[in-house]
Structures are given as structure tokens and as C-alpha cells.
Amino acid sequence: MRWKGLVLPAGAVVLAEACARIFGIQSDSLAAPSQILVAAWGLLRDGSLFAMLGQTLLSALGGLLIGGGAGLLLALVLGLSPVLTRLLRLPIEALRPIPSIAILPVFLMVFGFGYRLEIANVSFACFWPSLIIGQAAISGIEPRLLEVSRVLGLGFWGRITKIVIPAALPRLFVAFRLAASVALIVAVTVEIALNPQGMGYELMSAQSSLRPEVMFAILLYIGVTGWSVNAALLLAQRRLFGRAGALPGAVPGEAA
């Protein structure tokens, strides 16, 4: 059955190549698949792929660790304190709908261009899915487990490390996985919009220097990167937790 999925992309590639060969396209916005492949190989051979990939991944990872970590930490605290959850409801509901791209110029003013700008913006974006899904994960813990922890007289840290984290771990991993895909998306978006580094920036500059084959080659690499990160984390989730991580219903998140 799997070959059927290949028909459409393969057909599109063959058709595009045929059109390019027959009509001899000389365009600033289109390139034949063979030219794109040559450009992709060129990026791989001269190492520029790894330079831009490294910049993007470093920013995404930094933001994921800071923002996602802070979100999970707050989720843990709120998960254990219903009072705090209710008190912070309004501030959280008021801040969450701010689109992450809107904060970008604020960080630009503070940090200027570079890694700090990108990491700060990715952190802001990763914070929310991590907080919301983390909270859902912790509120999904069997209440009897928490009662047991109370009976055992565990302190705050004891409850977190011995009961809450082990019980909620599969779903916390889901939060981490979704925050990771947000991180990559936002990092590329920041690079496309403003920040002169990484894959997003190279994509933009290939476009503005009218090299469509390079532009499509980078687009291909961005797609492959996103897909591989997603696939690797999904695989890790299945290996580590089986079906335990599955969330019921749609999952809140943010995409750009």
C-alpha cells in the first residue's frame, strides 16, 4: 500500500521536469527538479547546509529548553496548587493569545539581531503549549495517587519527584514533542521575518537574489528537518511510553 503515497510526489516531479525540458523555462521563480537537486547537492557539499542548519537548530533547542522548561515548571506548580491555578487564570488567558511574532520586534529592540533574539522569541512561543499541555497532563493524574502521597507524608519535592513526574511523564513527553515542533517552526519564522542567520534567512536571500533552485532546495531541507525531528520524537514516544502518551481529542498548539 505504501507505494501509492509515492505516486503523487513522483508524478509531480516527473511532470515538472518534463515541462521544464520541453518549454525550456527561464524563470526567476521556478526551477526544474533536476536543477533543485543539483543546488541541494551543492549546499551539502560546500557545507553551507550544515552551517545554517546548525544555527537554526541551536536557536530552536535553546528556546525549547528555556521556554518549554519554564512552561513545564509552571505547569507542575499549578498542577499541585488549585489555588494558584485559579488566581493566575486571568493573567494566563490574557497573555496566551498574543501571537509570538508580535513580541519579535520587542526582543529586536532589546537584543538586536542574533541568537539571543531568536532564542527569546522561541522561548516565548514554546512556553504556552508546554504550560497548557503540561497542566492537562498533571490534572490527568489519578487522584488516588496524590492521596497516597499525602498519606505517606511526602513533602512538596517528594510528591513531585516520586508521584507526579512518573505518573504524568508520558503526557509531559507529548508536551515536549509539540513544543519542539513549535520551536523549529518559530525559529524558521523568526529567520524569515528578521533575523539574518539560519535556514529561514538563507531561504529569503536565495529568493531575493533570484536563485529559485537554491530557494526550493532549502525549502526541501527545511521540510526534511521538520519531518525528521517530528518522526524521531514520535518514535521515541512510542518506544518509551507505548500508547500511554496519547491525548484524547485535539491538542492545543500554535503553528506558523
Binding site: 500500500m1 505504501r2 501509492k4 503515497g5 509515492l6 505516486v7 503523487l8 510526489p9 521563480s29 485559579r86 488566581l87 493566575l88 487564570r89 486571568l90 493573567p91 488567558e93 490574557a94 497573555l95 493569545p97 498574543i98 501571537p99 509570538s100 511574532i101 508580535a102 513580541i103 520586534p105 520587542v106 529592540m109 515542533s181 523549529l184 517552526i185 518559530v186 524558521v188 519564522t189 524569515i192 521575518a193 528578521l194 529561514g200 531561504l203 529569503m204 536565495a206 529568493q207 531575493s208 529559485p212 530557494m215 526550493f216 525549502l219 527545511i222 521540510g223 521538520g226 519531518w227 525531528v229 517530528n230 481529542g249 485535539a250 492545543p252 498548539g253 500554535e254 503553528a255 506558523a256
Partner: protein, 255 residues
Amino acid sequence: MKRLREFGWRAASVAVGLGFLGLWQFVAWRRFVNPVFLPGPIETWNAMLDGFRTGMLGERTLATVQRMLYGWVVASLVGIGLGAAIGSSRRARDYLAPTLEFLRPLPSSAIVPVGIAFFGLSNAMVIGVVAFGSLWPTLLATIHGFAAVERRLIEVARMLRLSRGAVMVQIAFPSALPDILAAMRLGLITALILSVVGEILAFQGGLGSQILEASRAYRSPELFAGVLVLGMIGLASNLALSALETRLLRWRAPR
């Protein structure tokens, strides 16, 4: 008694929110943070009112909201139509789903340069990119919703000799609706983000241009006013869609 307690909690939460605002005002007033970067909440609020009074901010807000809504409406209609067609046919799913799944993790902002290459730095480019980017959540959720219709419902429909079209409209669509609405909400946020990205890159006016210009010129009250308005647009669209969701899904058994 219960309502009173609920009200009390809400009031306490508002008080905490006001407390944060007060803290922000205090930090700005005592200049703990360089005032070039951080205006106080009152200054931000005044900048926003000034902006609306002169009409500039209103015009830009309208431009951004228009782009967001045009793109989102087109994306939702195409997404639901195409998704219904693909989702209800096993063969179409076999051929198309792998390609769509490969494209799903692609950042939708990555098609901005492609859009520029084809349409130049124009308004049409921004709307096209918004529509294309916010298409994915709705399209994929509709495919999933139509594919996951309870088998027994389809069997009942067959017993009742409903036509293919009637099955899609009367059975598959309502059963996919929760998925579709959740995705449309995500699509609307994506549309807002892409409108701003498009405006930042294409200098087409709107709030994206406003916040970028204000940031470049270190006019932080104006910048924060723009961020505030964008946050309110996000909040309003979220609330509107939740209200729509509750209304359209009233027929479902309460959970």
C-alpha cells in the same frame, strides 16, 4: 453559594492581573528597566488611544484583520471542501495522505519567499500566503474527521438508502465538526501570525509594519500598543470561535 464562590475566585484572579499591571507600572516608573525598552502600562494604553484617535492605528488594525479574515475564510472553505472529498474516499487517502503528512511539519511561513517569488511584494501575496498557510490545519483535521466516522452510522445510512452526498452532509460532516472547528481555531491564529509576517516582509501597512517601524525607531509605547492590539485580536478571535463551537456543538451529549 457555589456561584458566589466562583465569583470570588474570578474577582481574585482579576485582582492578581491588576497586581501584575501595578508591578509593571512600578518597574517602569522607578526605571528598573531602561524606559527606552519598557514603557509603563499607562503609557502603552495612552499610545494606543492616541493611535486610534489619529486614525492610523485603526486603519492598520483593519488592514491586518482583513488580511487575516480573507485568508482564513478562503482556507477554511477550501480546507473543508477538499478535506471532505479526500477524507471520504479511501483511495484518495491512500494516494494523498502521505504527501500531506510530509508537508504538515513544514513551517507555513517558509512559503512566504515562494509567494514573493511568484507575486512580488504585494497585498495579494500576503493574502495568498495567509490562505495557504492556514489551510493545513483545517484540511488535515477534515480529512481525519471524515475518515474517522463511526462505521455503524455509515451502515445505518446505507440501510436508509441515503445517497453519497446525503451521507457526507448529514452524517460525516456533523461527526467531523468538532475536529474541524478546533482546527479552524488553530488556522485563525496561524492566519494572524502569517498576516503579521507578511506585513513585516512586504511593507504592506498593517500592524506588522507598525510594530517593526516602532521597534526600529525605539518608539516603545507605539510598539507595545501594537502588541496590545494584536493580543486583543488574538483573544477576540479565540473567544468568537469558542462561542461558535459551543453553539454549533450544542447537539452533542454534554461531557
